[in-house]
Symmetry: C2
Subunit: 495 residues, 2 copies
């Protein structure tokens, strides 16, 4: 894999200087076109052998291009806010918005490689990390991102010479990283595991470019040209036909029976049972949230459901048990401008709670496969691939110890009509009923179908859906609280 | 000050329950109107005696109102990202956007009071903190924020009874805070310093409301009504006439001589001097940025100047000396939607660098008193008060050890014309010249006047302006680098 990057590529100064003049001009123009179009972000990952010119190349790119449109991110020691959340969070929060370029030093690849070379993880864990990286990059590309992955390479002999030179130059001491590159064993292991990583993550949508690092001119020009050509090609694609969805078309139910139809909506609690059980479950939740073991977890609750199914009331019964400092409610409405400049899941990642915290999503990332699908707000390809992206997202949460509970509050059509009418009558509930609610109601069957698909595809062992029979509000509230409590208890037991 | 809050206010259950029904409805309506208008945010500060019902009241507000439109922030232990920046940063980053409500527990008042009661600071430092708080709140109000400050009070006797009850109730243990309230000396000191703070920070635009905390009904209803009335009044004010600017009108120069006219723009460096001095200053900067003492500071550089004065080129000469991981360039363009929903300075606060870091602002918060003033993008009152707000902002930075350097790059009209023409000719510089540049040129004299005022009012001993004679780019670049280096060295010397 690295053979062609050890043959001593080089070019002479004159050729280089002539080429650079044109290259710079073209790069700047492409960069400004990128900004103008603001259709996609560019992500440049920098990896490879120490001393192979990673730092110098990034410095050069900043000189050649307009540094005001580039974010260089280094991802050294995570901060405590980052440590308190799933590992991917820190990469999400620094993603460049559409129209800008992000250069990621010390990205997911450096982390997994260092961990493997140091022996902190074994091959199996490395492969997991590789899979996560692939899924992440695939998602970014599906969202339009243009990704360049550079591996700067040196032969072992070249490395030794570079290290000597580096040590003598105090201005470059910052380039040395924790691995002890002077040991040739480190080199061997790094290259071996590097190969494994590159082999498995070189994909058409995000290929690796191996750059021989020994000759500065050759190296710089190669990187510059790769970026230029990739950028120009991407800028020319005028958002034309989207790639085919990777998911098979969904099956429509042949007998028009749905999951939701099969719910027994007659479940009920009378006032006394309700009072009793609500108090019990609220006390239980309050106790669990104050349990020491909660410090090693976080809690996320997703509320979806028919309009007027009682999400707001249910949420208030949950929060009613808690110290307001421990939870946060995130109502999901139309994305803001900054959110629209990012991949779809970005606006949910930004609200992922830190350890010990609880975040309630009033509507959620499932909007993609519900309202956006039904109303046609996004292309079919977008919502079809969303199921997989959502499962990946939730797996990240789960792996970090976040307890995720997801509720679909289900009522029947008659109950909804009755509640709409009530709301129109009661003054302080009037804000709750809008034109849109009536329009949504007309699409009842479409939603039933979308919910079926959603549950089929995203009710996983690590994050299952709870369908809540919500014709009776009391029954629904208690069931929700109890489900949260059971999920927390189960997670604590596994600690 | 607290006398009327120790007389044993109370109301009976029946009166309370009747009143609450109406109150809730009205609060909800006001809250929805607030969201609809999205004209201003609401900030509720919660302070006072332990056990006086702070936590319970916040919980109740979340029950009465729609919790999805409320952010409760607790500000307990700062995170390391917060510790790495001026103390105000953490309050800025959590400010509620227009249309929403933020409830701040553990705000600036609790911090200063705890520090004073514990004896960590003396009266002089307390008074400084009070002044900072006042300036901050004044700014928020000028930006439209509606602020409620609640002091929950108990007499010493009431406190002792409450503490006993609290201790017995495990569900409320989270309410106890680090001060040892069982000592009556703590109470006395807290009340004494609390009085000092309240006296000095009770202003028409952000008054304190002292609430007697012993009777739950009385307390809850009082707080609810204060919020409701304040909110309703603010919602009715239809953005009408702005308050008079607090600044005296600026003097126009009687002899039409300006600060900029007095610059000697003939300063020059020949190619060899430039090469030499540039290399020296770049090496110096590189060394200073790697100096251990840099870890206790951060660096911010502001670049303002005439169009085509060479800001971009100068910035590249500065960054050319540095590891791209250590600096970040922030180009200031039109604010995003999320930025527009916040006070003016919010979008600059979000980019304040952490310790050891360097942020370069390509245009800056001075846009308010330059382009926004000249083009009439904001009201006179807004840019007139901006001078003071900016000085406060920069003082926060300075007090935390951030080194701030501010450059105005000045060229004459002929030089600008020449550069505009050059830019139109050179392909890869063409992106640099826009219609707007030509329009700005027509307002040359207005800008001269605005710059004069800006320098007069914001060149302070802690953050002085450096006027850079930029007809000669070489001279300008070296002067800029040298100024940054001198500033860093001076700061290190004081350590």
């Amino acid at each position: 894999m690295f053979e062609s990057a050890e043959i001593g590529h080089s070019i002479d100064k004159e050729t280089y200087e002539k080429a650079v003049l044109e290259l710079r001009e073209a790069l700047l123009e492409a960069q400004y076109e990128l900004k103008q179009q603001a259709r996609f972000p560019v992500l440049i990952l920098i990896n490879g052998i120490e001393g192979a010119g990673k730092g110098e190349t990034v410095k050069l790119l900043n000189e050649w291009m307009d540094p005001r449109l580039i974010n260089v991110e280094s991802f050294l020691q995570p901060t405590d806010e980052e440590l308190s959340r799933p590992p991917q969070w820190r990469f999400w929060r620094k993603l460049p918005p559409k129209g800008r370029t992000g250069i990621y030093f010390g990205n997911w690849y450096s982390q997994m490689l260092h961990a493997r070379v140091d022996g902190d993880i074994k091959d199996a864990r490395l492969d997991q990390a590789i899979n996560d990286a692939e899924a992440f990059e695939r998602m970014l590309c599906d969202e339009g991102a243009l990704i360049f992955k550079f591996w700067f390479h040196l032969s072992k002999k070249q490395l030794k010479e570079r290290l000597k030179a580096l040590e003598k130059d105090p201005q470059r001491s910052w380039q040395l990283n924790p691995l002890d590159w002077k040991q040739s064993e480190v080199y061997d292991r790094f290259v071996r595991f590097g190969e494994r990583v590159l082999r498995r993550t070189s994909r058409d949508y995000a290929p690796w470019y191996v750059i021989e690092g020994s000759d500065e001119y050759y190296r710089s020009l190669s990187v510059g040209r790769v970026i230029l050509e990739g950028l120009q090609a991407a800028l020319k694609q005028s958002g034309g036909p989207k790639p085919q969805p990777h998911a098979a078309p969904l099956m429509s139910s042949l007998d028009s029976r749905s999951l939701l139809d099969s719910l027994d909506l007659s479940h009920k609690l009378d006032k006394d049972e309700y009072k009793d059980q609500l108090a019990t479950e609220q006390a239980r939740l309050s106790g669990l949230m104050r349990d020491k073991r909660m410090r090693g977890h976080a809690l996320m609750a997703v509320f979806e459901g028919n309009d007027a199914a009682g999400k707001g009331g249910a949420i208030r019964r949950v929060t009613g048990a808690l110290d307001p400092r421990q939870y946060r409610t995130v109502p999901i409405a139309a994305p803001t401008e900054e959110e629209r400049a990012q991949p779809y899941l970005w606006r949910f990642w930004r609200h992922v709670p830190g350890r010990g915290q609880f975040t309630i999503f009033d509507r959620s990332w499932y909007g993609r496969v519900l309202v956006e699908r039904v109303e046609g707000y996004c292309a079919d390809a977008d919502w079809l691939r969303a199921y997989g992206e959502i499962n990946d997202f939730e797996e990240q949460l789960h792996n970090y110890g976040i307890v995720l509970v997801k509720f679909w509050l289900s009522i029947d059509k008659d109950t909804q009509m009755q509640r709409f009418k009530e709301r129109e009558e009661v003054a302080f509930k009037r804000y709750k009923i809008t034109e849109e609610d009536w329009r949504n109601r007309d699409k009842w069957d479409h939603y039933v179908h979308a919910v079926d698909d959603m549950v089929d595809r995203t009710s996983t062992e690590i994050a299952s859906w709870t369908l809540v029979e919500a014709n009776d509000k009391r029954y629904a509230r208690v069931k929700i609280l109890r489900t949260i409590n059971d999920a927390l208890e189960a997670a604590f037991k596994k600690d």
